[in-house]
Amino acid sequence: MWGRGGERRAPRVASPSAGMGEFKVHRVRFFNYVPSGIRCVAYNNQSNRLAVSRTDGTVEIYNLSANYFQEKFFPGHESRATEALCWANGQRLFSAGLNGEIIEYDLQALNIKYAMDAFGGPIWSMAASPNGSQLLVSKQLLVGCEDGSVKLFQITPDKIQFERNFDRQKSRILSLSWHPAGTHIAAGSIDYISVFDVKSGSAIHKMLVDRQYMGVSKRKCIIWGVAFLSDGTVISVDSAGKVQFWDSATGTLVKNHLIANADVQSIAISDQEDSFVVGTAEGTVFHFQLVSVTSNSSEKRWVRTKPFQHHTHDVRAVAHSPIALISGGTDTHLVIRPLMEKVEVKNYDAALRKITFPHRRLVSCAKKKQLLLFQFAHHLELWRLGSTVATGKNGDTLPLSKNADHLLHLKTKGPENIICSCISPCGSWIAYSTASRFFLYRLNYDHDNINLQRVSKMPAFLRSALQILFSEDSAKLFVASNQGSLHVIRLLEGSFKHLHTFQPQSGTVESMCLLAVSPDGNWLAASGTSAGVHVYNVKQLKLHCTVPAYNFPVTALAIAPNTNNLVIAHSDQQVFEYSIPDKQYTQWSRTIQKQGFHHLWLQRDTPITHISFHPKRPMHILLHDAYMFCIIDKSLPLPNDKTLLYNPLPPTNESDIIRRRTAHAFKISKKYKPLLFMDLLDERTLVAVERPLDDIIAQLPPPIKKKKFGT
């Protein structure tokens, strides 16, 4: 149909019967990456986004409408342990932590807007005034501090402003909740819950919590969470394993549920106030629902309905979206458990999700030198892959003639986490960035010795980068800064020269998070979190075109050699191929869009994080997510929903091999998982970086021990 449009079809090198061929796979498991535990989660109903803070201070934003894609993140900071996280005034995100500061995040520029000391010692809790409250003219933010004070802040359009203190309590305020009308608040402390009148700021009730735990009096009972309902009920969860219902008007205990032998650490209530979720230190999440006592009766009662055990460790934080229960904790998983009765159609929302790994690359690779650069929160590791001279058949493990070497351990200076890092394809440059500094190193290899030299005097504009990329010939460095601009830098032996800065489109402040450069160095593609992909001409230093915006964020980008086709993967698992020279989607892309992807392909629940190409086979695209990697052979027919997308069984005979090779375009392997990185080193060699979950669990603190035998 679009035949005349100028599709540049590359000559076919390999006939399909020659197959994908064999690969030697460097199976790397020494990337000792351990995600930080989850400390807080906050769900924003308006934008259907979830903010997650981790124990290292990292804050991540997940877009629940875009297939739970982690679309933004704010790097952590050693001194900035977040204890509370909340959305306020619509879409503004605040966090507070043990350093006593309240921080607002800039969700467009992806940096910290400001940090403000609350002067109350470490902050344990925070709550924003409810939406739609009649009494309040503007929005307010409450923080609960170590010194027992509850501080009220006014949210102004660009900052927050301290307004007043509530009556000081005698011990730290660990949890806070507003009455939905905004007239009262409940504050959980140690051994008691206070109810404050917002207008006067005085405590009107003090509800003492029973310290007894299974008949034994514990030292203290910590109120980990409170929730204030519109009817005046306060629900509290505490360290004695209790979920308690209080009447805030009289200050009396109404109901008590003992649900755990350990602490109940978190609570979240649905907007309709008909269900809530609590998380315990035993890793269990309980769902409570307001259910009619008998059919037809209007009398309703809170009933513990469903327990879920998706965590091994403490569930530090829970959230309640309209259709799902969200929990996270020390075991680093973010678990999204859909409420089946709320999910009407069987789609992404109906599946249980466990998000463990970040949706971005932490590994970069210097193909020629066979080097891998691993990014950790506070250091980088450089490894050289080993080698073998042996050959073998499918499934063999080859004897190593040389093992992998740990070449370098590069520790960052300062308390900030690394945002991004990259090693040049030639292996002689390493660049990384933290929130305030950009570092560039020159590496000299002298046999087995490595000489590391920092390139000093980085220009002032190079302060913080969201993404760094070297050109294929390692002569240019591309840096996406958080102001939306893209810097092009020429690298010379030991120094550099700033060539150009692509300024963001007027009127946009969105930061670019993903970069791709064409192997010939002529084209640079950059994508932000929501707008389309911009393609720049690096030779002429101007914007070449913009790929039409798509509903779902881009998860990976790459430009194919020779054809300069830009391959874009989106979080809804769609893959597009766009011809940069022709400024239009390629015929193949149109065909696959017309026919649609295989339903199993679309049902995968981790995003594609890396795309690469075979140097000799222009029809092949290699892409991977956390649980599979796939080589798409564009010359083969596309699978339809009736064909078997993935056949885990080895082929039985010669004709089966040929039949499978020619069956359809998607060649999938699930052998390596969880897969953090995969790339082609050369025509016949792949590198796969795996991070087995058991290795992560082994590095976590031991969970609460439960007796297995007897009671």
Partner: protein
């Protein structure tokens, strides 16, 4: 789910066209760029995403464009016809239309068609068709007349069918419609007469066509407001003959029948059509997307300023005149599933959603609450269908049941004979299950019980059994059922209920237990009880059943032996007897099956305990003996399970033993016949405790072993492997 997005006007300045609206909107060779021809003298090239014109060309004053400009996709040039006969071809660079290539033709042109992948075609008003190349080679060539006098071309469309161009045009003569299909690979022109069927009076107002497999699906919007579909074969069996084709009703009353003008129809994809025109009730004009597969309205947008009754679609945009502005409304049609088609209607009958209902819904699964809501819901869906009066005629007959079987069944329950009810019930059960199935079943049971109360001679046992076996009933759905069975001591129904109901109150469970323990063996003999759960050890029971049992009772009933040491001694003295005792079941097979049903039922200790106290001591002993027997059977094998299908589990047995002892300890302790039992239980518990403590001790060692094992498999941090992809 199809959706109309927010539209935008393409021109800030009103189009200089009259009330007739523009002549046409055509795609250019660049994506996102469209040629808009107004009915006067101007052709404008717009870039839609930018909402701005890229170029504009006009013919001279006095000349008038008679056919919308199109783009020749092979050369990138634009073609327009003015004054019916004068053809102009120009490219983007040209400024003045006067100075561009001109060809005067010998006949009047109706339309020029151009689509990607083939040369443009010129359709003359007389029905002749020429390729552009051939025509330009000899512009003055004679053009033949294809259609008869007074026959007027109403509508035309050009497709590619398997890479071959096919042109269809519709003509009208005295209210009769004809379709002509010209295929260019074979140069065959086929003529069809469109029969309007019964709706003689209605005149077709708008057409749209798409290719569907081997047919051209021609849809027409008639003046009665309905959409009709006509299937025209692409490869007719006898192309020469004038064939008659019948249209069938596709959608009823999508626009108001009284709307004389301003209606238009466009096929968007296989299942969706866009309709422009005033809907039934409202007088304002509307743009709506209908799903033809499920006959539902998917999206609708009001156009208060009126339209010209023209609708074009290209790619994902719908173009229409809204007031005086050319408006673009992007739309989206997703693959139609029933769930999507029903759109906002909840609880649609999609199979996927059905699967979802297996999850316990705490908010609605409570008996009536869900029931009434659901049945309303399911009634509402057909109502909505009739409301819109959109029923595909072909399927109309088959989907019109006079009375739903459920209502028939409920009526039958009230008055008919037992036999008749059974027949109705079977009929009802044969029909596919609706979401409100279980409430209907509940209603039927309540109806049956109500009737039994009114006329005690009426005992619909078979019906009840059948109803219970539908597996959808619960205690709360038919509260009277088990009381009724208890009253009748119908152990068979009780067993079924215990097996099926998830929510039996403990008092009822206990009442069942009492009956099961007290009912005479002879009356049990006659009943037909499901013996699945006792399959294997029935054989043993058959051997020495009752004698053994009495023997045990006699053994136990020995007033002299009333201290524990003696009892223990006796046990050691008579290992033979003990062994024998362990292999013989204290109750008959049928009773065992009933008791197993009790063991399987759910309960809560606190509520069950008080009721257990009411059971007479000898029944308690019997039950304990049976439980102990089961326990011994369990411990015979390593997996600690009983043979057979769905036997009681060890946990259930142990829990019940504990429960019985807790409830009746004081009584049991005083009973001499229970002494032996208690002693062996005591020994058993003691051994269990020691096992558990030992297990707890070695658990740490186990874990270390496991860790070592894991490390061995995960030792390899780096390896090079060979992988072949197939």
């Amino acid at each position: 789910m199809a959706a109309l997005e927010e539209g935008f006007t393409l021109t800030a300045v009103p189009l200089g066209s009259g009330p007739d609206g523009p002549l046409g909107v055509e795609q250019s060779d660049k994506t996102d760029q469209f040629l808009v021809t107004d009915s006067g003298r101007t052709v404008i090239l717009y870039k839609v995403s930018d909402q701005k014109p890229l170029g504009s060309w006009s013919v001279k004053q006095g000349q008038i464009i008679t056919c919308p400009a199109v783009c020749n996709f092979q050369t990138g040039e634009y073609i327009v016809v003015h004054d019916n006969k004068v053809l102009r071809i120009w490219s983007n660079e040209d400024v003045n239309l006067d100075k561009v290539f001109k060809a005067t033709l010998s006949a009047e042109v109706y339309r020029i068609h151009s689509i990607q992948g083939t040369e443009p075609l010129v359709l003359f008003k007389e029905g002749a068709i020429r390729g552009l190349e051939a025509l330009l080679a000899e512009p003055q060539q004679k053009i033949e007349t294809v259609i008869s006098d007074e026959e007027v071309i109403k509508w035309t469309k050009f497709f590619m069918v398997f890479r071959h161009p096919v042109l269809i045009f519709i003509t009208e003569k005295h209210g009769n419609y004809f379709a002509y299909v010209q295929k260019f690979n074979s140069r065959i022109l086929s003529k069809y007469t469109l029969l309007l069927g019964q709706e003689e009076k209605s005149a077709a107002q708008s057409f749209s066509a798409s290719v569907y497999r081997k047919f051209i699906s021609l849809m027409s919007l008639s003046s009665d407001g309905c959409v009709y579909e006509t299937l025209i074969p692409i490869h007719p069996s006898d192309p020469e003959k004038n064939q008659k084709i019948v249209r069938s009703l596709l959608l009823k009353s999508v626009v108001s029948g009284s709307a004389r003008s301003g209606v238009a129809l466009t096929i968007l994809d296989q299942d969706h059509v866009a309709v422009l025109g005033p809907p039934l009730s409202a007088s304002k004009e509307c743009l709506s997307i209908w799903n033809t597969k499920f006959q539902t309205l998917q999206a609708s947008k009001e156009l208060p300023q009126g339209t010209s009754g023209q609708l074009w679609y290209h790619g994902e945009n719908l173009f229409m005149l809204h007031g005086k502005f050319l408006t673009v409304i992007p739309y989206k049609c997703e693959v139609s599933s029933l769930a999507g088609a029903l759109g906002k209607l909840k609880h649609s009958q999609d199979p996927d959603i059905h699967a979802m209902t297996h999850f316990v819904n705490w908010e609605t699964s409570q008996g009536y609450g869900l029931g009434s809501e659901n049945s309303e819901q399911s009634k509402r869906i057909p109502n909505q269908f009739t409301e819109f009066q959109l029923r595909r005629r072909k399927i109309e007959a088959s989907v019109q049941p006079e009375v739903p079987p459920s209502t028939q069944l409920l009526a039958a329950v009230q008055k008919d004979s037992e036999k008749h009810i059974e027949v109705e019930l079977r009929k009802f059960l044969a029909v596919k299950r609706t979401p409100d199935f279980h409430t209907i079943i509940g209603d039927v049971v309540i109806g049956l019980l109500g009737r039994y109360k009114a006329e005690p001679s009426f005992y619909p046992r078979n019906c009840l059994m059948q109803l219970i076996q539908t597996c959808v009933l619960s205690y709360s759905l038919c509260p009277g059922l088990m009381e009724f069975a208890l009253e009748k001591t119908d152990v068979q129904i009780l067993q079924l209920c215990l097996q099926q109901f998830p929510d039996i109150p403990e008092s009822v469970t206990c009442a069942c237990l009492k009956i099961f323990l007290s009912i005479g063996d002879d009356s049990l003999q006659e009943t037909d009880i499901n013996m699945e759960s006792v399959s294997d050890y029935t054989a043993i029971i058959q051997d020495g059943e009752i004698e053994e049992q009495t023997e045990i009772l006699q053994n136990g009933f020995n007033p002299e032996e009333d201290n524990c040491e003696n009892c223990a001694q006796e046990l050691t003295e008579k290992p033979q007897a003990a062994a024998e005792e362990s292999t013989s079941c204290p109750v008959t097979g049928k009773r065992a099956a009933l008791l197993n049903a009790i063991l399987h039922s759910a309960y809560s200790e606190t509520f069950l305990l008080p009721h257990l106290k009411d059971i007479p001591a000898q029944h308690i002993t019997l039950f304990l003996q049976y439980l102990y027997f089961l326990y011994l059977k369990c411990s015979e094998n390593a997996t600690m399970t009983l043979p057979g299908i769905h036997p009681p589990t060890l946990n259930q047995i142990m829990d019940w033993i504990c429960l019985l002892l807790d409830a009746n300890f004081t009584v049991v302790v005083m009973l001499p016949e229970a002494k032996r039992l208690l002693l062996s239980l005591y020994k058993f518990v003691k051994s269990q405790i020691s096992i558990c403590s030992e297990l707890n001790k070695i658990e740490v060692s186990f874990r270390e072993l496991q860790k070592l094992n894991q490390e061995k498999t995960n030792r390899e941090l780096y390896s090079i492997e060979v992988l072949e992809l197939f």
